[in-house]
Symmetry: C2
Subunit: 331 residues, 2 copies
């Protein structure tokens, strides 16, 4: 059942050291791998590895065995693949196509919560049709990063054995492919989107009311990401047999946000990765997953691109988990 | 030391029943008492009792003995005064002036986080010069609601015996009376403002960085109210001898926000009132105060005006405190 390798093994050993139960399943992440040009008040970088699948895979790799399906161009070489491999991520699902990789340029000014898109060159991503390697068929957890909803549904249909499916989307798909997105939402267990997307999808400006309307579309749980204020998980009545009270996790107030790119994808990676590392799916596990999501998001923004996510240790993650807990817990 | 009456006495008995240590000091609230016309998606009300001092006093009255200083006009009669009296609030500091009370009209549309002001008639409030009754001189806690900063400073100078001073302000004063506000900030222990006000006051769009700049202006602690996302308290290094790690409390996701007016003032009342009910001022007490602030704010928005704040029980408050805790606490 376990397709072990260096990354997951390291993770497991660390966890054993820290006294946690070790139980590693695998997660498949499907989404974009990109090269980004990013400008923020902290500086400018060009041509750095990015994309939702990259951030999410790296964040999840500290908790569980990760497999990735994405398309890359001829500009994606061994140096980039090594970023995944060093974290033990299975890259057999990386499709190498002719042409350039997806490229995105964005600028953050004072309001670091919102990027101004300078350019989007889809390149090989435009014709992306996810192909799932046969060796991935036994993957227990699935995360569908932000791609066209019909493609998300196709992947989900290929993965009949999955135990839990997480999904992201964005305003573009909510506005233009609402019907297709509706079909996809019936196939997923947990949807992870932000406040604006939740309200837009539900057509309701009150967050908890909007959340319940979204849950009525299919998912058993909805994680609403609040940016610098943390995240809230809402449950459909009876979902996972754990009742329906929401739960809220904080994020850390960070003085130097160097680059917010990928914070939401890293959140998803931490959340899904932690779930995949747990034998049981109960309320406490989902609560902790929300904390780990915030922890991974908070690391991601500390440096440009995926730099910080490439070189963490499980001990650093646990330490920050403790800081998050201290930030909100009464004695 | 204790100027007892029905409200505080009731509070104390309830607390004793619930097994908490009973220690009631008094708090003086200085600010506006007003009549409001409010329209929200839930309906329209006219001529209802409002004003920062009203919301704050009522919220604080569930925790401690409250005294109020404000000016009212001839339209403020025994019916309105009875709202304060029923909660045991000492109204000897209510100055009755010729003319009409402060009147405000506001409309909330879909975005309940922001009111469109329809009219502001300052009336008797325009010439308000707070007069502190001699019997109030022994008050231990002081809350300076949102009024002109120089008046806030004058009140603080009159109250030499206070143990702790809380203070609110708004964008209007930050932009127009920055120098005077700077003087006031040197005299207060805790400033309670929202995200936008914090960033405006500091001239910094990063919240934790802005918070530290505000703390450098004088207050030992800064409570930043995040509206529907809760609040964060930041401490100056060494403040209250409790270290400087911030603490964050949630608010409840509420499906039916009837009227957001006074939520921030009710937060301040819960926060300050709880502090005034505690013998010691330590980190745990400040953390709980932040939770109680959120609890009182969450009650305030459930009905128009102060209706809900007039008729709570301490048991309802404790029950909701438990819900807030459950919303964010890991096992």
């Amino acid at each position: 059942m376990f397709s072990e390798n260096a990354g997951a093994d390291r993770t497991r050993k660390n966890r054993q050291k820290s006294g946690e139960t070790s139980f590693t399943m695998s997660i498949l992440v499907v989404g974009s791998v990109a090269f980004d040009d990013i400008t923020s008040p902290s500086g400018t970088v060009k041509n750095i590895l990015g994309g939702a699948a990259t951030y999410c895979s790296l964040a999840a790799s500290y908790f569980t065995q990760v497999r990735v399906v994405a398309v890359v161009g001829e500009d994606f070489g061994p140096e980039q693949e090594e970023v995944f491999r060093r974290r033990g991520i299975d890259t057999r699902g990386l499709e190498h196509a002719k042409g350039k990789s997806f490229r995105w340029g964005g600028t953050y000014t004072d309001n670091l919560n919102e990027a101004k898109t300078d350019f989007t060159d889809l390149n090989v991503f435009e014709q992306f049709r996810p192909k799932i390697p046969a060796q991935y068929a036994d993957t227990e957890f699935l995360f569908l990063a932000n791609i066209q909803p019909t493609l998300q549904a196709d992947v989900r249909h290929c993965m009949n054995g999955v135990r839990l499916t997480g999904c992201d989307t964005m305003n573009y798909w909510i506005q233009r492919t609402r019907k297709e997105l509706g079909e996809t939402l019936k196939l997923v267990n947990v949807l992870l989107i932000n406040d604006t997307e939740t309200k837009m999808l539900a057509g309701d400006s009150n967050l908890p009311r909007a959340a319940h309307k979204v849950l009525a579309m299919g998912p058993q749980a909805l994680v609403v990401k609040h940016g610098e204020y943390g995240a809230t998980i809402f449950f459909r009545e009876g979902a996972f047999g754990i009742g329906h009270h929401p739960f809220r996790a904080p994020t850390l107030p960070i003085e130097e946000v160097k680059d917010p790119t990928g914070a939401g994808d890293s959140f998803a990676g931490g959340f899904m990765g932690y779930l995949a590392s747990q034998e049981q799916l109960n309320r406490e596990v989902l609560k902790r997953a929300l904390f780990y999501g915030g922890v991974m998001g908070s690391f991601a923004v500390e440096s440009f691109g995926t730099e910080r996510l490439q070189s963490l240790s499980r001990a650093e993650i646990e330490e920050r988990f403790g800081v998050f807990r201290e930030l909100t817990h009464l004695e």
